[in-house]
């Protein structure tokens, strides 16, 4: 057998892997936009005073959260055409991962909104602030702070879940690495490099989230940390 690690080979496959890595990042960003919007919709519907709206939404969120993304993707990709919804593999993948995470993000929004003390709402009413102003100037600024780190963590989690899309033939980083492996019979370099790519990007992202957490923390919570 040759060398343990063939650096020349690693260098040669780097461009292909990086290109696939960009696809992975693109999928993540597109999916996250869907998740941010879908999560907001779900969170608002779940807060609806009408029980026949809020209950089914709560059930759907719970169902999606406790079943695997892989099977949800299979469902979108293989079953939806029966209902007349034909999606390409990347479209099904982005829609699937976006919908999966919108159920998680809906909970983040809900928790953030519920964490704002009732007194704040009452004070807004007492000052007869219009509802839009109350939301924009009083409620949301307080609700969004604790949400940001949680949203950041889900962005990273979503990024790390994109390899699942390879199961429905989306050529992202993991599938590209596996393809290179099966062509060249060298799995060590491509799969290790894919792993390192994930590690670097998520460590970087995690550091950014921590920075964001510190930047958005209220003074009161900052002092508590030192205690």
């Amino acid at each position: 057998m040759g060398k343990l690690v063939d650096f020349g080979f690693a260098w040669r496959i780097l461009p292909d892997l990086l290109a696939a890595g960009m696809t992975t990042i693109g999928i993540t960003l597109a999916g996250f936009s869907i998740a941010l919007a879908g999560g907001l919709l779900l969170a608002l519907l779940r807060r609806s005073p009408l029980a026949f709206v809020s209950w089914p939404v709560a059930a759907i969120v719970e169902f999606v959260r406790s079943t695997p993304l892989l099977i949800q993707l299979y469902f979108l990709f293989y079953v939806m055409p029966e209902f007349g919804l034909m999606l390409s593999a990347p479209a099904a993948g982005i829609a699937g991962i976006g919908l999966h995470y919108s159920c998680y993000i809906a909970e983040v929004y809900r928790a953030g909104l519920e964490a704002v003390p009732r007194g704040q709402w009452e004070a807004c009413q007492a000052l007869s602030l219009p509802r839009s102003v109350a939301y924009r100037r009083v409620i949301l600024p307080q609700a969004i702070r604790p949400m940001l780190p949680a949203l950041g963590n889900y962005l990273v989690a979503m990024f790390k879940d994109t390899p699942v899309l390879s199961a429905i033939t989306v050529v992202e980083l993991m599938l590209q690495a596996k393809n290179i492996g099966s062509h060249s019979f060298r799995y060590l370099e491509p799969i290790t490099m894919a792993g390192l790519f994930f590690l670097c990007v998520s460590l970087l992202a995690a550091a950014l989230v921590r920075k964001l957490e510190r930047a958005t923390a209220l003074p009161a919570t900052q002092t508590r940390k030192t205690a």
């Binding site: 299979y74 293989y78 390899p163 792993g195």
Partner: protein, 219 residues
């Protein structure tokens, strides 16, 4: 038709349950060790624990499974694992790293006064840990731990991609033969949902039992 499909899916479900149980046992062990390592007095242990946690949290589960399955049997390592061992070790290592952070938080949330009181009562360190600190920490760890176990259950679906015949693998197999994708994937989703609810229920019962245990231990 359903009568022919269900036995296959249930067979896969058993494998899924088996992996979930074994991997969660491994994950809990690793989580406890890594949490203790991270809180340790020795810098080497702290580093080791941090390395393990950051590494396994920072890379995708599927990449880890593929690495164990495709790379490990090749020359530099020459370690050939069965798909079943890859599933248990891969999931256990991955979820253990997440569990370590939960355990660390739970251990740190035990009030210092409890430890000081135990020292004042001259309770030896090991007993102090197992009878005073750990029971209180575990109560705190149950909530996030439940979510993590459900993540583990969902993660088991990925082992189908390293050719282990779990529920997802069977579902795929059945669909390729019968073309009943709607029914089979629908049932599969329902089975996973039912399993997740079982975990929820079991952990809730456990939490209630632990919360009601008389102070100072029953024995």
């Amino acid at each position: 038709m359903l009568r022919e499909i269900l036995p296959l899916l249930l067979d896969g479900t058993l494998t899924t349950i088996e992996i979930t149980l074994l991997a969660s046992a491994l994950a809990m062990l690793l989580a406890m060790l890594a949490a203790l390592g991270k809180l340790s007095r020795w810098r080497g242990l702290r580093w080791l624990a941090k390395l393990y946690i950051e590494f396994f949290r920072g890379t995708s589960l599927l990449v880890q499974l593929f690495w164990l399955y495709f790379v490990l049997p090749l020359p530099p390592f020459n370690v050939s694992l069965s798909p079943f061992s890859v599933a248990v070790f891969g999931l256990g290592l991955h979820i253990g790293a997440y569990g370590a952070e939960i355990m660390r938080g739970a251990l740190q949330s035990v009030p210092r006064g409890q430890i000081e009181a135990a020292i004042a009562l001259n309770i030896p360190p090991l007993r102090r840990f197992t009878r005073i600190v750990l029971p209180q920490a575990l109560v705190n760890a149950i909530g996030p731990g439940t979510n993590l176990l459900i993540e583990l259950l969902k993660g088991t679906s990925l082992v189908s991609l390293v050719t282990l015949a779990d529920l997802s693998f069977r579902a795929n197999q059945v669909v390729q033969v019968t073309y009943l994708s709607r029914e089979v994937f629908g049932i599969t989703l329902l089975i996973y949902f039912a399993l997740a609810q079982c975990i929820n229920l079991a952990m809730r019962l456990l939490a209630r039992r632990m919360a009601h245990a008389p102070a100072g231990g029953a024995r």
